[in-house]
């Protein structure tokens, strides 16, 4: 009884699966089931036979089930079985029962069938659940069988130990199957174990060796790819061990004689190498700085906040390289090998400044001793080669400047390319909803508050997407919105212009102050420029935020606008600052001319004096501190940038402390004695502003790139700043920030930030290159003093350090006639690459379309096959069930048949129903009649006399007919229930 229902239910599942179109192979499987069922229905007397068959079926399935991950018990038993069979072998077990040849054959046949079945294992996972109750019992039987099987095989082996051929063939077959199907691997493995133990390597022919080798390689590959398999750990462990055992056993067999030792050695070394690699990986991950910190933040605030810190770390890495370059190739050589402090005028503090040169205020401004040190451009001497290494200082200085920029470009672009690769075709919008659905949850979120925010944001995003899809987005007053947006942009432009003018004004004023002498002014007046810039950078974004409320944009669009505006503000500020600096440079150069003239007169007078006083007296030694000197605009520029960085850093930290920490403390502790809820109400806690922080970081980096040429200390300073930032911000985030209300995903904006960084890099190298190329260096300071242009150092090197032909080649190469075609060629290459990428994209779309149509076709084919099978079933059922019922109730059965006809006629339509999971109704009917065959019979029996039954029956049919369409939407189980109630 139970078996009957069991099989039908299995059948059910099979069919259901089939309709999902998982595999067409299921067809055959299903047919088999069908046949079986018919047999069961027709020949009730042949129970025993069927039982046997069913047992066989089940046994097979159970042995398959042994592999299944869910089945602990099964695995244990299997393990035991394997062990037993192995021990049997080791004992060369002749005590095993004398199994006859036929039995072996049948078991072999079963095995092959099993192998075929194995393919389906995954698909029919479901059905095994149904069988769970019977399993233990079955398993036991199975074990016995297996044991027999194993010993029988051994028997065979012993019998024809010298006739290898048979076995080998078998083994080959097994190997082949194992290479084909991963799922069957485990099972085959056992068999291989038991069979191949006997095979001695010396007797193998080359082809067999080849196959063996292939098998071994297969195993190795399996071991390699094991971690990428979605299996349970136990299964993976078993497979790993078995595969390793297999590999170990047969790897040795592959080499013969002398080769064998070498082979074993090689294997050993590969193993060692693997272990080393793994350890090295571990070591490498352990070496990534701040990994744990970032992970902690990640798990609290989600990936977007963490992305800022990852960006910060990346920045830190770049600055580390820049720092190494400047420090190792410029600062250290000059400090070690260059002339020491005080030997020449440019390396000495002037007499006038000497008394205050060590004051903290002066040093803080990077004046005094700080100004006349390796930290700034002016300190470097123009001596061509220094020290015993003959280090080419000016050349090195120039090349490091260029290299810094070049390296930064390279890294940024490479990272961008990699990010773009990773996101792949992320820009295509075809899976908008599905992505929202399947990938919007950030599994890293470990904080309930963040989770709540995330829920809210996901909901809004769903709602928005639906709204957009419907395109019923009502614009209540388009003119008003437009007007407001224009107004907002106008206001923002005003802000930008105002801030630009303010900076320009302040810089000019500070120049006046500088001319007056800084000592006469207050602290504020001295630091006006930097303070104003920092304050603008702090308050303008808030202003923009307020203004953007006018615009009524979608939050994501609003964020982009906001970012763009802040970007423009920073850029404007930076550029006004640079323009003002340019003015200052020009002023300094005017001043320089005067100084130069003065110096010549001063020198002349000096010589005149000495000449007139005493012609024989030794030349007067003048302290280098007393020598008049030019203003050295390069050092001035460097100083400005350093001051800017310092004040920027300070403002960032102070805002962090006041805006975040103090606020959090106040909110936290004043909340006990305040009239409203501070935590939920107005001040509340601050959020971590990812985009603002990233922008700040980017601009900071821009300033570094701009100023690094004139102040070699900048990368070092920046490194320090980033280091402190890392700890300070990590701490601030963890202790006083709340998760963002709008949780943005990290990776989407990653390349956006990178693009900004690239733009900034470009914009910041522009002025630096401009000054290097167009403005002649100061005459008495820096490594390029005395040259007309800074890049003359290259030519000088070419002329004096390289053979003559080289400079000739270089000059040819750099003439416009060659450079222009080269540029043209590059442009053409870019064009070509772009067009190919476009064509690839098109091909991609084309392929996608093709895939889609193919999929649909396949589906159709599957459905047709399913339909056919179902028809067959229907027919068979009709032949089977009415024969039983015919005798009982002719009327009813004809009615029913008519009903079936109806059902069948309708069935194709049902297949096309949207819900593929619900098993098609006709089959259900069949199922129903099959399982509940006795019940209606009784019913009919009893009510045969009454005429009232007939209408009732037809009524039921009618009801069913009507109901079927509406039922399509519901699950199958519900349908069954309904039928039961109707009956």
């Amino acid at each position: 009884m139970t078996r009957d229902s069991l099989i039908t239910s299995e059948n059910d599942v099979d069919i259901g699966l089939e309709f999902e179109g998982l595999d067409d192979e299921v067809d055959t499987f299903q047919e088999e089931h069908e046949r079986e069922r018919h047999r069961g229905k027709r020949r009730d007397g042949e129970r025993t036979k069927k039982k046997k068959r069913g047992n066989g079926e089940r046994r097979k399935r159970a042995s398959r089930g042994g592999q299944e991950e869910e089945k602990l018990q099964a695995r244990h038993e299997k393990k035991g079985r394997r062990k037993r069979s192995r021990s049997d072998q080791q004992a060369k077990g002749r005590e095993g029962d004398e199994a006859e040849q036929p039995k072996i054959k049948s078991s072999k046949a079963a095995k092959t069938r099993k192998n075929v079945k194995n393919e389906k294992t995954r698909k029919v996972e479901k059905e095994e659940k149904d069988e769970k109750e019977d399993e233990a019992e079955d398993e036991e039987r199975n074990v016995k069988r297996k044991k027999k099987h194993g010993s029988a095989k051994k028997e065979e082996n012993v019998e024809d130990g010298n006739k290898h051929t048979v076995k080998k063939k078998k083994r080959k077959k097994v190997i082949e199957t194992s290479s084909e199907k991963e799922t069957s691997e485990e099972e085959d493995n056992e068999e291989e174990d038991s069979e191949e133990k006997e095979v001695r390597p010396e007797t193998l022919t080359p082809e067999e060796l080849e196959t063996l080798k292939e098998a071994v390689d297969e195993r190795k590959k399996l071991i390699q790819g094991l971690r990428g398999k979605p299996w349970a750990m136990k299964k993976k462990l078993v497979t790993l061990r078995e595969s390793q055992e297999f590999v170990e056993k047969y790897e040795g067999a592959l080499g013969k004689g002398k080769g064998r030792k070498l082979y074993a050695y090689k294997v050993m070394m590969t193993k060692k190498w693997m272990k080393f690699k793994r350890d090295f990986e571990n070591f490498k991950t352990a070496c990534i700085p701040w990994e744990m910190k970032i992970k902690e933040i990640e798990s609290h605030f989600g990936s977007s906040v963490a992305s800022y810190f990852i960006f910060l770390r990346w920045m830190y890495g770049i600055n580390m390289i820049l720092f190494c370059l400047t420090f190792g190739l410029v600062m250290v050589p000059e400090a070690l090998m260059g002339r020491p402090y005080g030997t020449i005028p440019r390396k000495t503090v002037p007499r006038a400044e000497a008394p205050s040169a060590m004051d903290f205020a002066v040093l803080w401004d990077f004046g005094g001793y700080a100004q006349y040190s390796v930290l700034f451009y002016g300190y470097y001497n123009n001596q061509r080669a220094i020290g015993w290494l003959k280090f080419r200082m000016p050349l090195s200085y120039f090349l490091v400047g260029v290299g810094t920029v070049a390296y930064s470009y390279m890294v940024v672009i490479r990272t961008m390319a990699r990010n773009a690769n990773e996101s792949g075709v992320g820009d295509d919008n075809s899976f908008n909803f599905s992505w929202k659905m399947f990938t919007s949850w950030d599994y890293l979120i470990g904080n309930p508050e963040t989770a709540d925010n995330k829920f809210a944001s996901i909901t809004t995003s769903f709602k928005e997407a639906i709204l957009e899809e419907q395109e019923s987005r009502k614009d209540d007053n388009i003119h008003l919105t437009r007007f407001l947006r224009v107004l907002a942009n106008f206001l923002v432009l005003c802000c930008l212009a105002g801030s630009g003018y303010l900076i320009y004004f302040v810089v000019r004023r500070s120049q006046k102050f500088a001319l007056d002498g800084l000592e006469n002014h207050t602290w504020w007046e001295r630091n006006e420029v930097n303070m104003v810039m920092s304050l603008l950078g702090m308050f303008c974004p808030m202003l923009f935020d307020v203004i953007s409320a006018l615009e009524n944009y979608h939050p994501r669009v609003a964020l982009q606008w906001q970012l763009g505006r802040i970007f423009a503000l920073f850029l404007g500020n930076l550029y006004t600052f640079i323009i003002a600096l340019m003015d200052e440079i020009n002023l300094k150069r005017e001043e320089e001319k005067i100084v130069k003239f003065n110096i010549t007169t001063w020198e002349a007078s000096l010589y005149n004096i000495t000449a007139s006083e005493n012609s024989t007296a030794p030349p007067v030694t003048i302290q280098p501190a007393d020598v008049p000197r030019g203003p050295c605009w390069e050092t001035m520029v460097g100083q400005e940038f350093v001051r800017l960085i310092i004040s920027d850093t300070m403002t960032t930290y102070i805002t962090l402390l006041i805006g975040d920490f103090l606020r959090a403390v106040l909110v936290r502790f004043l909340n006990y004695c305040w009239c409203w809820d501070l935590e939920a109400g107005f001040p509340s806690y601050s959020e971590f502003d990812v985009s603002g922080n990233v922008l700040g970081l980017i601009f900071n980096q821009g300033m570094i790139w701009m100023g690094a040429f004139y102040a070699p200390c900048l990368p070092a300073l920046n490194l320090l700043r980033l280091h402190v930032s890392m700890y300070l911000q990590c701490w601030a985030v963890m202790c006083c920030n709340v998760p963002q209300e709008r949780v943005f995903k990290a990776s989407g904006s990653n390349n956006f930030y990178m693009a900004m960084l690239l733009v900034i890099l470009f914009l910041s190298t522009l002025p630096a290159i401009y000054t290097i190329v167009t403005i002649p260096p100061s005459f008495d300071c820096g490594p390029f003093s005395g040259k007309k242009r800074m890049f003359d150092v290259i030519q000088e090197t070419l002329e004096s350090d390289f053979p003559a032909w080289f400079s000739k080649v270089f000059s040819y190469a750099s003439n416009p006639g060659l450079v222009l075609p080269f540029i043209l060629l590059m442009a053409l290459a870019i064009y070509y690459l772009q067009s190919t990428s476009k064509s690839y994209k098109e091909a991609n779309v084309e392929l996608k379309k093709k895939l889609q149509t193919q999929n649909e076709e396949n589906k159709k084919k599957n459905k047709l096959a399913a339909l056919k099978a179902q028809m067959d079933l229907e027919e068979a059922r009709k032949a089977a069930s009415p024969s039983a019922e015919h005798q009982k109730n002719n009327n009813a059965s004809t009615d029913q048949e008519a009903d079936e006809e109806e059902d069948r006629g309708r069935s194709p339509r049902m297949y096309n129903s949207k819900n593929g999971r619900s098993p098609p109704p006709p089959r259900h009917d069949g199922h129903l009649t099959a399982t509940r065959a006795p019940a209606p019979r009784n019913y009919q029996h009893g009510s045969q006399v009454s005429a009232g039954y007939l209408p009732g029956f037809t009524l039921e049919n009618e009801a069913r007919m009507h109901r079927v369409p509406s039922l399509q939407r519901h699950g199958g189980s519900e349908k069954t229930k309904q039928h039961v109630t109707q009956d």
């Binding site: 998982l22 991950e69 790993l240 990936s303 295509d428 899976f431 979120i445 995903k745 990290a746 819900n915």
Partner: protein, 189 residues
Amino acid sequence: MGTTASQLGKDMLSEYQELTFLTKQEILLAHKRFTELLTRDEKDLANTRVPIERILTLPELKSNPFRKRICHVFSTSEYKDGSLTFEDFLDLLSAFSDSATLEIKSHYAFRIFDFDDDGTLDCGDLEKLVNCLTGETDDTRLTPEEMRQLINNILEESDIDKDGTVNLSEFQHVISRSPDFVSSFKIVL
């Protein structure tokens, strides 16, 4: 099996490294966290199952709307109660680790989203999924109309063969295009 939950042998450790995407440190950390979940007398036993309630006290899973599904998917318990052994726990962490491949991540994601374990994502699964994503509170819930619309849209996009459900390969196809699935399908201890 020889697996001892109380202490990790050296070869066990290396096998785990071989079989998961975790590094040695991560495995040790996982082990530490896992043993913290065990009660005193369970610590001596090998291969203990930690019931789902205790697993869910982990802060990493506490606020995850799919926490129960995750436990059920990774559990190898016969009773389908979502309890995890240490090895299951490692499997979980491996699938959610940084270096796990997209393939394995999407496989497990599919199984997590497949609420009724029938091998495809149908309307019921999708509805449950949406409800998980929008949270428990009523104000974030979608109306039935919105829900219907949303599910229709999703099926329109990702149900390539138009059979009314999303199967594994369709799901993986969709996921593989997503720019941020790999970065967000992570759980770190």
